[in-house]
């Protein structure tokens, strides 16, 4: 008898500990419009990556107007220890900062403090006359910029600016960004001063080049409002929407909720190993753009509108819901409808396939770009949008369904981006809805 009880107790304890190591929470709303069994295909995809030891954790959250359609989470903020991840886990959202800054720009346009076609030099005169090194090649014949860089160009990455090579920057000019350290500058002012001295890699308005453009938009916001970017975003977007965990830094009191960043393991940074761990990890904690965990989450010398924010799924869903709902969330209006629609409107309709080819390769045919948002076109050739989206270099993604405003997020922490699952998850949701 005693023996049996001991075994029972042991198996209960073991069962409990297994549950913790595999920790998985799931909630599917009773929304009759979606077939819950079909939605489970989402779990199969992310579990496949997790159980192969390729991602440290995941949070997938699908909502419509604040109501959960599907949610699943698994894993911890740090492999082998740390908290279970959930909607309050803090992630480095990197380039998902860009859509938020773009929203702030649209708001300033609405308030008449900016115009979409204002030249950049109106606010930052150092960009008055720019040179172009076509293709970023320093051995090519430099050209003078044929047209001024405008706010519209900055919103759509068609300014002619680029990024350093590790962010797929173009040509030798991208290397110059690193050599002069444009992103390692000690003030916003120094950043724009230095950037203005480097050539553009394309004529303004002609080609999509993923770039520091949104950092420059941040500089314009500071110039126009007289506030620093973080404070302005807090006042106009984060506080009104109740995004209490979104900022350019992670406070010490919140660091236990802050997920560490991983990368595929290499022999000199081998994956962690734990006895009795069912998952064979293939990833190791990594140094993210030169910063280890202890340096992550510390406020930089200036607020990077291109990639500096930290946020949570809960917070980001509030932001995305506001945008999906054309500027309003739970009675709080951040933007008028007409201006909110600019997020999703092709702001450079003259651009053809070739303008996107270098940046997106084969995917160029399905890409357009709106006010800070990538527009994924439907594959059926109808010319209509499937969803609006963006993601961050540490593998966080969000999207807004073009048909019914469903907002989705898929967050994990592995750099650089490896698993863009929006297409697959979107398709599953569409199939589940067709019931």
């Amino acid at each position: 008898m005693i023996r049996t009880n001991l075994w029972q107790a042991a198996s209960i304890i073991m069962g409990a500990s297994l549950f913790v190591s595999g920790a998985k929470a799931e909630s599917i709303s009773a929304d009759p419009e979606f077939d819950p069994q079909k939605l489970e295909a989402i779990e199969a995809i992310v579990d496949g990556l997790y159980e192969d030891g390729l991602i440290p954790n995941y949070v997938v959250d699908i909502q419509r107007r604040g109501e959960t359609i599907y949610h699943i989470e698994r894993g911890k903020t740090q492999i082998g220890s740390g908290q279970n991840v959930n909607n309050q886990t803090i992630y480095a959202i990197a380039s998902m900062t860009k859509p938020i800054v773009s929203t702030a720009v649209l708001r300033l346009i609405q308030e008449g403090k900016l115009q979409l076609d204002d030249p950049l030099s109106k606010y930052l005169p150092e960009f008055e006359s720019m040179l172009v090194a076509p293709g970023g090649s320093l051995s090519s014949m430099f050209e003078e910029a044929a047209t001024p860089i405008t706010v519209r160009h900055l919103l759509t990455h068609t300014s002619g600016f680029t990024y350093p090579p590790e962010v797929l920057g173009v040509g030798e000019v991208a290397q110059q960004y690193n050599e002069v350290g444009v992103l390692a500058t000690s003030s916003m002012n120094e950043f724009t001063e230095l950037l203005a001295q480097l050539p553009l890699v394309a004529q303004p308005g002609e080609t999509f080049n993923y770039s520091v453009s949104v950092d420059v938009l941040g500089a314009i916001i500071e110039q126009v409002t007289g506030e620093n970017l973080g404070d302005y975003l807090k006042e106009t977007i984060f506080e009104p929407l109740g995004m209490t965990d979104t900022a350019f830094e992670v406070l010490d009191k919140d660091r236990d909720r802050f997920a560490r960043i991983y990368a595929p393991s290499t022999p000199n940074n081998p994956a962690p190993f734990f006895e009795d761990e069912p998952i064979q990890w293939q990833i190791s904690e990594t140094v993210y753009f030169g910063r280890g965990f202890d340096q992550m989450g510390r406020r930089g010398a200036w607020d990077s509108g291109g990639g500096g924010l930290y946020s949570t799924v809960d917070d980001f869903q509030r932001y995305a819901s506001m945008v999906a709902n054309f500027g309003e969330l739970e009675g709080t209006r951040v933007l008028d409808e007409d201006f909110a629609k600019l997020h999703f409107e092709d702001l450079m309709p003259g651009l053809g396939l070739e303008a996107f080819r270098a940046a997106f390769g084969e995917a160029a045919s399905s890409m357009k770009f709106g006010g800070g948002y990538g527009i994924r076109m439907k594959d059926d050739g109808s010319g209509s949008a499937d969803y609006y989206f963006w993601g961050g270099a540490a593998n966080t993604f969000f999207w807004v369904d073009a048909d019914d405003g469903i907002t989705g997020t898929f967050f994990t922490h592995i750099a650089p981006i490896r698993y863009n699952l929006i297409d697959q998850i979107e398709e599953i949701i569409d199939e589940a809805r067709e019931q």
């Binding site: 030891g53 380039s95 990024y163 590790e166 962010v167 797929l168 993923y210 595929p264 393991s265 290499t266 022999p267 000199n268 940074n269 081998p270 994956a271 962690p272 190993f273 761990e277 064979q280 990890w281 293939q282 190791s284 940046a359 997106f360 390769g361 084969e362 995917a363 399905s366 890409m367 990538g374 994924r376 989206f389 963006w390 993601g391 961050g392 270099a393 993604f397 650089p416 981006i417 863009n420 929006i422 297409d423």
Partner: protein
């Protein structure tokens, strides 16, 4: 009498050749297994992860299955085939190990012989534990033996740029000791100069203490030079490559073969969210201008640890010699058998390779030049617990040996670093082959 004897021999030979050509005939389900191999590997190309691949399965009689997809060099439209030349990187190591064992067989070396008897500068070595320069410098507890070098247990490491993880590995990197990107031209000098520089630095562990993936096979390359009194390329030709007919296996690919040389690729890491399908690779950027792969142009130093380029057709010959020992006299059966025994110190058990390769390398032992995948909970020292034998190169080349079933195979691509390890899946698919 005599002519008819020759005649019948000729018939026998031609029969043998015929059976070889009609490969896969002895299995009833070759097509299904071939489809399964394609099912494992084709997605790598279809999903844009690799530009192309070549893979094959062999048995005692020859080629059983051959599959390929995509391009070996996109720019030139070179298709992957058994004659395409690939940088084998760490798959050079088994070849160099084989050469060393031949010298042992010939009585020119002993496995437990101190290497300092051939390379006197080894005497100056010391150890800083964990390669941490804050630790005291201590003398070696025993000499480094030939066996230690064969099994990465000498206490050397690799440059930080390759896989070294200790503080000392940073010094390897600063001094460019056995740096991959210096293979074309090395300011340090030739192989002996690299070894000289290496021997100025402390070991990161006592000999026999740990498996640390390392330059030890490069040191063996130098040992071969000293013992044979020939440069390593020539010594390998004499000891392994010529006897086995591996005429496409070299440190430097001659110009007339450039049209058969695969191009090297590296990951194209998106840092923004490209939707759908897109190429995840791009040409390897750090090669000198006009060079599409290592082993092209010039050689700075002969790297026994990673410098050889070869083809599937050549590497098949090499693996065949290890698995079946067909060429009499090349290696004694006794010595050949050592390739299928765990050679790591008993204290390392089946976890020795964890140090470098993480949890995926659990249940793994090591022989001479390659790994032994054990069955779950298997013992390294029981042949019956060995699941299969395998190794891989840093540019995504792999081989596996399923000794029990008398089969082996290759999976070749050119992508630095290796990202797509499919050995387990390939072995398991090959095991579905059913004899007629």
């Amino acid at each position: 009498m005599r002519p008819s004897f020759y005649w019948s021999l000729a018939i026998l030979l031609s029969l043998a050749l015929t059976t070889c050509e009609v490969f896969g005939d002895q299995y009833s389900n070759t097509k299904e297994v071939r489809d399964e191999l394609k099912g494992i590997l084709d997605p790598l190309v279809d999903d844009g992860l690799l530009p192309g691949y070549y893979a094959s399965v062999y048995d005692r009689d020859g080629l059983v299955i051959e599959v390929a997809s995509g391009a070996a060099s996109e720019l030139e439209g070179l298709k992957p085939s058994s004659n395409v030349i690939y940088s084998m990187m760490s798959m050079s190591k088994p070849i160099v190990s084989f050469a060393v064992l031949r010298l042992v067989d010939a009585g020119l070396l002993r496995l437990d012989q101190p290497v300092k008897e051939f390379i006197p500068e080894m005497r100056q070595l010391s150890v800083v534990e964990d390669g941490d320069l804050d630790n005291p410098v201590v003398p070696l507890e025993r000499d480094i033996s030939v066996r230690d070098l064969l099994t990465h247990t000498a206490g050397f490491t690799y440059s930080e740029d390759i896989v070294g993880r200790e503080e000392v590995a940073k010094i390897y990197a600063e001094l460019e000791i056995f740096a991959i990107d210096k293979r074309f031209q090395s300011e340090l000098g030739d192989l002996s100069a690299h070894v000289d520089a290496l021997l100025q630095l402390p070991l990161v562990a006592q000999p026999g203490e740990k498996f640390i993936y390392s330059v030890s096979i490069d040191v063996l390359g130098r040992l071969i030079e000293v013992v044979t009194e020939r440069p390593l390329d020539q010594a390998l030709r004499n000891l392994v490559l010529e006897p086995l007919g591996m005429s496409d296996t070299t440190f430097l690919v001659p110009e007339e073969k450039y049209n058969r040389l695969a191009a090297m690729y590296e990951p194209r890491l998106a840092t923004y969210p490209i939707p759908g399908r897109f190429a995840r690779y791009q040409p390897y950027k750090t090669l000198p201008q006009g060079i599409k792969n290592f082993a092209q142009g010039s050689v700075g130093y002969f790297s026994g640890g990673g410098g050889l380029a070869s083809t599937a057709a050549d590497y098949e010959k090499f693996l065949r010699a290890i698995v079946f020992g067909q060429r009499e006299g090349l290696l004694s059966d006794e010595m050949r058998e050592q390739f299928f025994r765990n050679q790591l110190p008993p204290a390392l058990g089946s976890k020795g390779l964890l140090y470098n390769f993480g949890p995926r390398a659990l249940n793994t032992a090591f022989s001479y030049g390659f790994g032994i995948r054990l069955k779950p909970e298997g013992s390294p020292d029981l042949a019956g617990d060995h699941d299969y034998y395998f190794w891989a190169g840093a540019a995504n080349t792999q081989f596996w040996i399923d000794r029990k079933n008398g089969r082996f195979g290759l999976f070749l691509a050119q992508h630095m670093p290796t990202q797509y390890d499919r050995a387990r899946e390939l072995v398991s698919a090959s095991r579905k082959l059913m004899a007629e």
